[in-house]
Structure formats: C-alpha cells, structure tokens
Symmetry: C2
Amino acid sequence: MAKKLKPKKRSSKTAARLTRPKRTKKTVRRRERAPEPAATAESMAAQQRSISISEFFAKNRHLLGFDNPRKALLTAVKEAVDNSLDACEEARILPDLLVEITALQQDKFTVTVTDNGPGIVRKQIPNIFARLLYGSKFHRLKMSRGQQGIGISAAGMYGLLTTGQPVEIVSRTSSSKKAQLYHVQIDTAKNKPRISVDQECDFELPTGTRVTITLKGKHQKGRQSVDEYIAQTAMANPHAGIVYKSSNGATVEYQRQAKELPPTGRQIRPHPYGVELGLLLRMAHDSRLKQLSAFLRKDFSRVSARLARTICQKAKLSIRLKPSKLTVHQAEALHAAINKTKIMAPATDCIAAIGAERLEEGLKAVVKADFYTATSRSPSVYSGNPFLIEAALAYGIKDGNGGDPEREPVMRLIRIANRAPLLYQQSACAIYRSVVDVNWRNYSVTQNRGSLPNGPMALMVNMASVWVPFTSESKEAIAHYPEIIREIQLAVQDCGRKLGAYLRRKKRVQQEMEKRRYIETYLPYIGEALQDILSLKQHDVILVTSRLQELLEKTRRI
Amino acid sequence: MAKKLKPKKRSSKTAARLTRPKRTKKTVRRRERAPEPAATAESMAAQQRSISISEFFAKNRHLLGFDNPRKALLTAVKEAVDNSLDACEEARILPDLLVEITALQQDKFTVTVTDNGPGIVRKQIPNIFARLLYGSKFHRLKMSRGQQGIGISAAGMYGLLTTGQPVEIVSRTSSSKKAQLYHVQIDTAKNKPRISVDQECDFELPTGTRVTITLKGKHQKGRQSVDEYIAQTAMANPHAGIVYKSSNGATVEYQRQAKELPPTGRQIRPHPYGVELGLLLRMAHDSRLKQLSAFLRKDFSRVSARLARTICQKAKLSIRLKPSKLTVHQAEALHAAINKTKIMAPATDCIAAIGAERLEEGLKAVVKADFYTATSRSPSVYSGNPFLIEAALAYGIKDGNGGDPEREPVMRLIRIANRAPLLYQQSACAIYRSVVDVNWRNYSVTQNRGSLPNGPMALMVNMASVWVPFTSESKEAIAHYPEIIREIQLAVQDCGRKLGAYLRRKKRVQQEMEKRRYIETYLPYIGEALQDILSLKQHDVILVTSRLQELLEKTRRI
C-alpha cells in the first residue's frame, strides 16, 4: 500500500499550463482523471485501524454542538452551567452561579463559570475536564442535566483546537483545605488528559468550582443567544441564583425565586418493560445473583417475589435457573413472558417534575398574556426509562408578532429537558414534531400544513427523565421515540382543548355582547310600537319592555 | 457511596396503601419525597468512571439510526449496501449487489447483502463487523460513503440487542481460496468482538462478501422505506446492478445503466484554509518533518515551496523552524499568515461529482416533468475539507400532488450525499434549510414562510465531499456549516433562476397566445369596417388585414 499512502505528486491544472503551455486541454484532463490503483482485500486490510473517540469527535465536532462560532460559545456555557447545577443539586446546596463571558478579540472569548457546589476531588479533575466519555452519570438511571460524560471535555477540546489554550480549573472541596488549580488539555489521539499546571491556590468560596475555557466564538443577541439561554435557565430553575456578566460589560442578576431545592429524582433500576432481548441476556450474564427470581426482583424495578414467580412460570423456566447460564432461547421466552405480564408503572419519584403550577408561573414571568394553562402527565416508559411530560401554554401575548403588526405571529415554542433549555435544532425535536402533528384547528386556531400553529401564543414543554434521548451528543433535540411523541401530544392536546374552550367562550361572549347590544338598541322601539298598537300607558310600556328583556336574555344560551 | 448504590427499598404508593390503609395521604407523600443523602465531592468521585464507546451507543442507539423498528431495518440495509458499494469501487469492480429481506416473524427480519467486491481479509472480519470506531476510512481524506467505522458494527449491535443473534459473515478474497464463515457479536462493555463460529465454507462468487443480520424491524412501504432507498441508490449509482428481494416475496431488479465505474476521488492532504489553530499545532507537533517550510509543503495540499516561504515570511517565522517545537504563539502567527495568503482552491479531482448531466438524467428516470435543469458548482472548502454541490430540478411533474387534485403539491426534495440517498431527518438537514431559505417567489413560484416552495416539482441535491459532516452518526442529515449552506443556496438559486425564466417565458407565451387570439378574432371585422369606410375592394381588404396582422405581431415584444 505504499503507493496509496504516497499518492503521485501531480501538478495542478493551472501550473501544468504555465510550464507546458502547448499541451492540449484533453491531455491535461486525461492525466487528471487517471485513477488510483485498484485496492485489494489485502491493501484495504492494511489500512484498517481503530479510531479514538476524541479523534472521532474532533472531526465531528458539530455532533457536540460546535458547528459555528455562535453556537460554540453557547454550548460551552451550557455544558459548564449544566455541570454546576447538577453538582449543587446532588450535594443539596442551593446553587449560586457566576457566568462571565469576556471578549479577548473580536472572535475569541473566555467563558468562566463559578459555582458554590461541593467541589471536585483533585485526582478526578483532569479526567472530568479532558477526557471524553468519563463521568458519574452514565452508568445510573437518575435524572440529571448531564448524562454522557462528554460535554465539558468537548468544550475544552474545542477551545484547544481553536485557540491552543488549555482548560483552567480551580476547585475546593472543603473550607479547611486550599483550592487546587489545574491547566489541562486533551490528547485527542489517546483520549487522555495532559496536565500543564497542577498547584494549590486561593478560592473565595468555602467549596466550589471555577472552570475557564478560551475559545473562538461569536457573541450575538437573539433567540439562540447565551443571554436567552441564561434567562430560560433561570426560569426553569427558580431555586438557582445566577449572575451573568456579558461580554459587552452588562451584568444581569437573576435572583433566587424559590428558597427550597427541588426534590431530586431517585436513582432507579431499569423497568422490565422496554428492556430488549439482547439487553436482558447481557444483564442476566453480568448478574452476580444465583437465581432467576432474585435476578428479576433485584436487578429490575417493580418486580415483587410473586411477580418474579409468575413471570418464570409463564416463561416455563425454573425460578432457580442460574441467570449467567441463560440461553438465547430461554431469554426469548423470558422476554415474551415479561411483556405478557402486567407490571406496575415505574415509580413516580425517580423523576422530579417542575410541576404544572410552577411551569405556568415560569411562563407568566416571561410572557404577558390573556390566558394561561398548564398540564402535567403521569410518568410513562420508553425503552425501560421512565419519563414525564409537562406543558404550559399562554395565549393572547402582547407583541407576539415581534413588533410587526402586519405579520401574523407563529406560536413560540420553548423546549426544556431536565430543567435545561434547548435552543437549537427545533425542527429536529420530538417536541416540535408532536406540536406540529396536533390538529390545532380543533382548538379554534389556524395552522399551515406541517407548521406550528398561528396566533399570539407561547408553548413550553418540559421532558423530565432519568435518560433523555437526544438526537445528538450536543443535546439540542429529543429523539423521535413513539412513546415520547405520544405523551407530548397528549399533554399538548390537553392544553389545546383548554385553549379551544377559552377561545370558543371568548367568541360566544363577544357574540353575546353584540346580541345584547341589539336588544338594548331595538327594545325601546318595540315598546313604542306596542304602545301604539295596544294603546298602553307609559308605565305599562316600561313594564313590558323590562319583562321582554328579561325573557330574551334568559332564553339565550350562554 | 454504599448508600447511594443500594437505595432504600421503598414500597410503591399503591402497595403502601394496601398494607397500611389508615395512613394519611400526606404521610405517604412525605415518605416518597424523602431526599437521598446529599452527595459530597468524595462520594461523587467514587462514581466517576470511563464509559465504553459501545455502551454509549447501545444506550444512545437513536444516534445511529435505530430509534424505531422501521428506521432500524432501513439503517441496517443502508450500512451494508454502503460498505459493499465502497468496497467494489475501491477495488475497481463493477458492483453487483443482492439485497434480501426475509421476515422471520411479524417484527423480526434477516437482512442479507451479498456483493462481488474484493472480500475481506480473514483476521479483519471480526473487528469490522463487531467493533465500533474501527475502519479504514476515518484517517484519510477521500470520498466514500462510509466514514467513521461505526455503521455495520452498530447494525450488528442493534441486531444482537433486539434478537440476541450474532452477525453472520461469509467472505472470499480469491477464487483460489475457500470462503471464510464467521459468527461474531460485539462485547459492548469492552467494544471488542466475540467469535462463536470461525470456519471455511463455500461461496458462489470468486470474490465477495455476504453479511446477514437478524434484527427486530418493521417493513413498510412509503417515502422512507427500504424500497425507496434501493430505488434512489440505483438512481445515484447507475454503474451498479442491484437485485432486491423484498420480504413480501417480490423481486425488483435494477439493471446496470452505465458500463463504466465512476472516477474515484483521490485521497488528499488537508487544505490549509479551514485548518484551525489547535489542529495546526497538533499537526506540527505530530509531523516527522524537520523544517517548517517542508511541513507546510508536504503535510498540506496546494502549498508550493514559494508559497511556504511567503507564509513563513508573513508569520515572521524561520522556514527552518522545527515544526515539533512550534509554540502556541508561533502557531497563532502561522495560522493568521495562512489565512492572509491566497492559496489555490483544493484539487477538483479528489471529489468525483455525479455531474450535472447525469444528475438530470437520473431525475428524468424517476419523475416525468415538463422542464428539467441541473447545475454543478465548482469545489469549495469547509474546515479544510473540499466539497462540491450539484443540483437538478424538475418542474411540471404529472401527479406531483400524490394523486390528490385538491391539494397544492409541495416540492419534493431528494437529498444525496456521496451517492448515498438520505431519507430521514429532512428538516434537520443543511439541504432543507438552504432550500427553505431561498426566496422562491423570485422564481415565480409560491412559498409559505419557513417551508419548501409549492408547485409540481422535485429538487435533487447532491453533496460530494471527502468528509460529509452529518448531524448524527446515523448519517441522515448534513450539518449546518455556513460554507455548505452557501454553496447549496448558490446551486439551488441557479436552478431557481432557470426555472423562473422558464415559467416567465411560459407565462408570456400564454399571454401572447391570448393576444394573438384577440387579433385573429377581431381583424376580419376591422377589415370589413375599413371596406365600408374607404370603399375598398375585396382583394385590398385581404392585403390590408394581412399587413395589419404582420405589423401588430411585429410590434409586440415576445
């Protein structure tokens, strides 16, 4: 394969023309199109090799949310803020965050996020900030913003690729200890951290972490800006205090609205529904338990001893079977039996919902409107993962068309997953799909085919889950699992129905008012006419007209 | 952290009520909401660990295109077909593919793809089919369908997870050898293959590969079906013969349209534009070359010795500087100098375009229409990767509204990347975005805000590149790089302008015809009137009217 690795040097078309001006165009073209030698199975085998996960993501950085400078800045802020909020909540500390963006050059910024969380143990710092697929949140089922152990290391890697600067971390785990300062950068070929600074230093808080990333970016206002992200984050996290120092020198302070931490979701075991055959087989083989019934009871949630026996009976398997000896055939029977058995839905409290009321309040804080409604679905399951959908809707927003009175406004969709707002890839998101697929004409609003409905309204949808399935590692859009789409639609339809009732009532009241105006306008004339025809006295006329009015108003259905 | 790993067993709400019916609702609720113990830096550190890439993708299988059974079946077929076509083309063999889908149960299928490619060397088979991030196409810049070394192993992993069945491979590299049969399955915890069968066997072709995957799926007709995918693949690959045996027993044969293989793209070195600072620094440090000028000349494309000297001069660096000693500061200067220097666009022949004519023919084969046009842009660069956009448009499609005469049809968009059709995630794709953002009203067709234009038309866009940036590992949509969007828009606008000219001409011709009708209708009467007024003879009348007609037709602008 030496030939393939060192392709023949060929002069470019232009250069060829300069040096050999007499050659015909045809010759040049033929030369340029000369094929490389055909590959063989052997030559191809010589090129086969494994790829490090960081090389993969360095080349596919858009998968992580770093496709363009503006989004890169947002993604870096988002990953740092997500980590800080998660750490504070796990340690049951009311979060106080300081987010600073400083412009070094027009397209070069530092992002610094400081939190009052529990801090990070010294030896873990390099791995957490400069190694992809390393973290505490992947191998468990528990609700959190972070999931994959990629985010903050990826932000650091992007910074390194675009500016050559390492990530700087200061972290302090106890008021009785000094803080630790690290400068780390990822070695992409090996997916391992490289440490350039490792020393003690001062830190103004008793515990907490500060991370600083230098990166190429673009700081710009608008719907998908860092400013909007911070505002929506504050809205979805009323228990957090956030100070935001923008690169233009402005400081915005979002004060803590709720003095109590939200309940944390519990860590759970997988629910038997949705666990697929192959996964079941692997879990059985990996289990240390000696009996099938114990395996079902202890490695899954919602399986009692009685239920385990029932399942084994249906599968025609002994409850004493050793899980690690399970064959594919037996696993098939077990899998079929599980799906034929009624098992209680997963525990509610593994998911901490924002709550319909809080969600409505959050929406009220952001948009002024005439009508609000909210709904919270009960938990459901996709692929064995419990999740819950909440939605809040506001109608009659002032200035819903962004100040342009000519344009009919389109619904504004606010998407949230585990308290983290999603700003990009709206149209790829299951929330968008679900909202578009609802027939909004049923609720008295107009809608173009395949679009969001029209009207001065905003819809906020939150998905809370122990594992939110995002369409990419950048966590911008929720994947189209049928179970999730169904739940979102049910929640949205519930809000829609309430909106429809409100709009129809409003219309009826309007028609009513018009009708009343007619009655009030014409009744005196009817009185006069009656007076003429029946020769009534004035006080009889008043009596008759008032009775008529009463009667007419009663007979109308409101 | 023992506490955390074994959460207290808590009875469910319902169960609690059954056993202790007298407890108030409030107590139950409080018990349920009791928080887990707060985490500390130390307890969190104990949970930190690394995640294997296969565990990651097993949990995030939707990233690989396995979100639902229907798409899973398509993705498995697509990955196998992509690999087969790539292998044949690299070995310069005209591809003959046999794609079979067999239903085992209603929701369980086997996918078998057989090719006449060069075969796979025995020891590489397990890694290629049961190890993620393993392949020959990642570490090079060369146009191919596969890129990442994930696809086929992921399909096998999905099959394993859903049915417990291993992947079966038969491959033969020479007519003088027997074929090799393997059954392999991925060990997700380690991302390594596990081999269950490894023996010699017979194979009907002198060289080639057959892969069989058993998986849960759903076989269904329609726009996003396997049938449609095979049809579009045949359209974009006229040099391939494909026989498709559907699960319903039908066999479709797509015969080879072109007897010649398309030119292969050459493997290239990265272009200096778009190589970012961090990457430049890493390339310099990894380079074995001793001098900066040699590094620029040999590790990049399109840099001559003279150009290398100019760049070094601009950066105020010695051409004899050792690349491996480059500091961040020097790299910044070098990076700035590169981007201030005019460097020739990347070589065209690293990308094998389908060609505007072929593209138009392909479109003609699929849709019958009144008007066709096609365009091919010259190559451009994003992040150092050359790419090229081609587009073909058909207008006046018969039955463009899918048989519903009431509905105004919307443009049908056919997206292709390196000859592989993209069927899913249309709205997340840079092609869709670009087409929607073009103002189609300029070209005399209607368009709703934020939607595809209306009209009986189809648009086919192909992106050819040494590295197509997909929005997810499932390769369904192209990422939104500004350079790519711009090129797509230019190509689409070019087609749009030609369409606009055609539609305006058509309209003028129509108006013209109407005008002519008027002239022809009224001219005899004018003749009669003139005859009366001027007392002309009959032959004078004929003369005058024919002259009038001539004159009128001349003065009208067509």
